[in-house]
């Protein structure tokens, strides 16, 4: 399983890449693997929306499962990845690159401190496989 260093990970399998106060958010390699073939992504927020930690960002559906993706922090949406609507399989093939879901401006970047780093997330995934 690919778990790039330098990103932050949530227990609910979102990753966050921080650049100043702008965060890019996606779902982890582990999450896409668990879901298997993703057939649909619906991002339920728009650029300009103010959002709170814990709100649903998106719904991801595979043939056998559906999962909600949640905001790891408060902020304002800057941009969403429109291309995913047409090519949801990108989430399987490139979860950390072309498969990003959205970019947001964080109002309180310190909220991300509660997330895991790559090592902790890998350990967490191993414990779940148990």
């Amino acid at each position: 399983m690919n778990t790039p260093k330098g990103l932050k990970y949530a227990k609910t399998d979102e990753w966050v890449k921080l650049d100043g106060d702008v965060a890019t958010i996606g779902i982890s390699d582990y999450a896409q693997d668990q879901l298997s073939d993703i057939v649909y992504v619906e991002i339920v927020v728009e650029a300009g929306d103010s959002v709170s930690k814990g709100d649903t960002i998106a719904t991801v559906e595979s043939v056998k499962a559906a999962a909600d993706v949640n905001f790891p922090a408060d902020g304002e949406i800057l941009e969403i990845n429109e291309a995913l609507a047409e090519t949801p399989e990108t989430l399987n093939s490139d979860p950390y690159g072309e498969g990003w879901l959205l970019k947001m401006k964080l109002s309180n970047p310190a909220q991300l401190d509660a997330l895991m780093d790559a090592d902790a997330y890998e350990a967490y995934n191993e414990s779940r496989e148990g």
Binding site: D37, V39, Y40, E61, V63, P88, E89
Partner: protein, 485 residues
């Protein structure tokens, strides 16, 4: 061979049925509303009959063989049921006819209500819900309205054991409740400590399937119900598994406040390839006035000379109407026929043989498949469809391989709390010979899994089609066939 679609078979100019010419003068259509084109297929009657006969031959069915689909109660559907539902005197009655012209229908519905009350130990039954899921919705809405009327609007929490059907949480959410999942204990019962922790002033009710989806009778059912009642909640019984309880125990006697019946499971009305079902709901005396409308009732009592006069009744606090008219009357006739033919002794026989068959089959295969819970089961049981020493074989592979042996697979991947679940419900109508043959196939597959796993992974081999590309179906989304221009 691929069966063409009706549109591919169509030949311009063909006709399957002729109607008489109009015997009245012609009247013009209103301007601006006339339809330009309606591209329906054009076929002869024989074309149509052959096409659908071919399609039917691609199906597995109870009439064709053993169908141990857990929690679906795929028992034999007696043919007399079909004859009775089609009696012209019943099938050709319009739902809005004056009630004095349909007393025969109302008698059947009233009797069925009474019988379901007697069988369940509940006080009042309404037949209108269209299916089990709608029966559940009725139950959840009754719980909601009951608390509203009793000035407890803050009771917004519904407890659902983790072994429940997915419908339960969906129903609760549709009714505006917050859903809290309850874990099962090591013996497959509701975890009493977890239940106690949730019994507070926000508790609206508990939705309980008993026997549960593991096929186990909850050993603490009386205590579970008592705890919920003491906390001010109501207990809803999912009647999906009632087949195990006919004449054995009445849910109303155990303290259940509400339950739905699945006439298409317990009372042998056919599953129809996915419907129509029928999901009457029974309630305790305290909830009788919350039932959906209408309920069939006696309007004028009869005496020795005149029969009672039947009509409809709208309960005082009714949650409202669930559908048009009075429910799936055609299914009511079938269930009426079935219960009338069985009587009390016959109903008990159903439950006894259903439970005997399940335990017998479980005993036959438990050497080869790990039981989720090794204790006496009711009408169904759950095994793990996987082995630690062959990690690449899954429940799905076993299911697909069973098709090669001529069987419909059990329910797969449900209940969710069992790893690689295979849920097996033989029903009472299957003979010892059928169960023996099925057990033999299960054993053979367990052996194949070790000796030739590829045989399972590439199964089925003898079916009209092989495994399907479900990802393509979902990504490309073709929901309608080619229609000629």
């Amino acid at each position: 061979m691929i069966e063409p679609t009706i549109y591919e078979l169509s030949q311009p100019g063909r006709k399957g049925v002729a109607f008489p010419e109009s015997d009245v003068p012609a009247y013009d259509l209103p301007a601006g509303f006339a339809r330009e084109a309606l591209k329906l297929p054009e076929l002869s009657e024989q074309d149509v009959v052959r096409h659908f006969t071919h399609l039917s031959q691609l199906n597995y069915s109870i009439d064709g063989g053993f169908y141990p689909l857990g929690s679906c109660t795929m028992k034999y559907n007696p043919k007399i049921n079909e004859e009775m539902a089609r009696l012209p005197g019943l099938a050709n009655t319009h739902p809005l006819q004056p009630i004095e012209t349909v007393q025969g229908n109302l008698y059947i519905m009233y009797q069925l209500q009474e019988w379901l009350q007697e069988i369940s130990g509940l006080n009042r039954v309404c037949l209108s819900p269209a299916a089990g899921a709608q029966g559940e919705l009725v139950g959840a809405l009754i719980i909601k309205k009951y608390h509203e009327i009793n000035n407890a609007p803050l009771r917004t929490k519904i407890l659902i054991p983790d072994s429940a059907h997915g419908t339960n949480p969906a129903t609760s959410a549709m009714s505006g409740f917050k859903v809290v999942s309850l874990p099962s204990d090591a013996r497959g019962n509701v975890d009493l400590e977890a239940l106690k922790a949730e019994c507070d002033e926000t508790l609206a009710g508990l939705m309980l399937t008993n026997p549960n989806t593991l096929g186990l009778f909850d050993e603490n059912v009386l205590e579970v119900i008592q705890l919920v009642h003491e906390a001010g909640g109501l207990v809803y019984g999912d009647g999906a598994n009632l087949n195990a309880l006919l004449g054995v125990v009445r849910p109303g006697d155990l303290g259940f406040d509400i339950m739905h019946f699945n006439l298409h499971k317990t009372f042998s009305t056919p599953h129809g390839g996915g419907g129509p079902g029928s999901g009457p709901v029974g309630v305790s005396e305290a909830l009788a006035e919350f039932l959906p409308s209408p309920v069939v009732t006696i309007i004028e009592k009869g005496d020795e000379e005149t029969p009672p006069f039947f009509g409809f009744y709208t309960p005082q606090h009714t949650i409202g109407r669930m559908k048009a008219f009075y429910g799936h009357f055609g299914m009511h006739i079938r269930a009426y026929t079935y219960i009338a033919m069985h009587g009390p002794a016959g109903l008990l026989d159903i439950a006894q043989k259903a439970v005997l068959n399940a335990n017998y089959l479980m005993a036959q295969i438990k050497e080869d498949y790990t039981l989720a819970y090794d204790r006496t089961c009711m009408h169904e049981f759950v095994v793990e469809g996987a082995w630690e020493d062959i990690p690449d074989i899954h429940a799905l592979d076993i299911s697909k391989r069973l098709m090669d042996y001529g069987y419909h697979p059990p329910t797969n991947y449900f209940p969710l709390i069992v790893h690689e679940a295979l849920m097996i419900e033989p029903t009472e109508t299957e003979s010892k010979q059928t169960l023996d043959a099925f057990a033999k196939a299960m054993k053979a597959i367990a052996k194949e899994a070790r000796e030739d796993p590829d045989l399972l992974q590439t199964a089925p081999h003898n079916t009209p089609i092989r495994r399907c590309d479900e990802v393509k179906a979902a990504r490309d989304l073709v929901l309608c066939c080619w229609i000629p221009e």
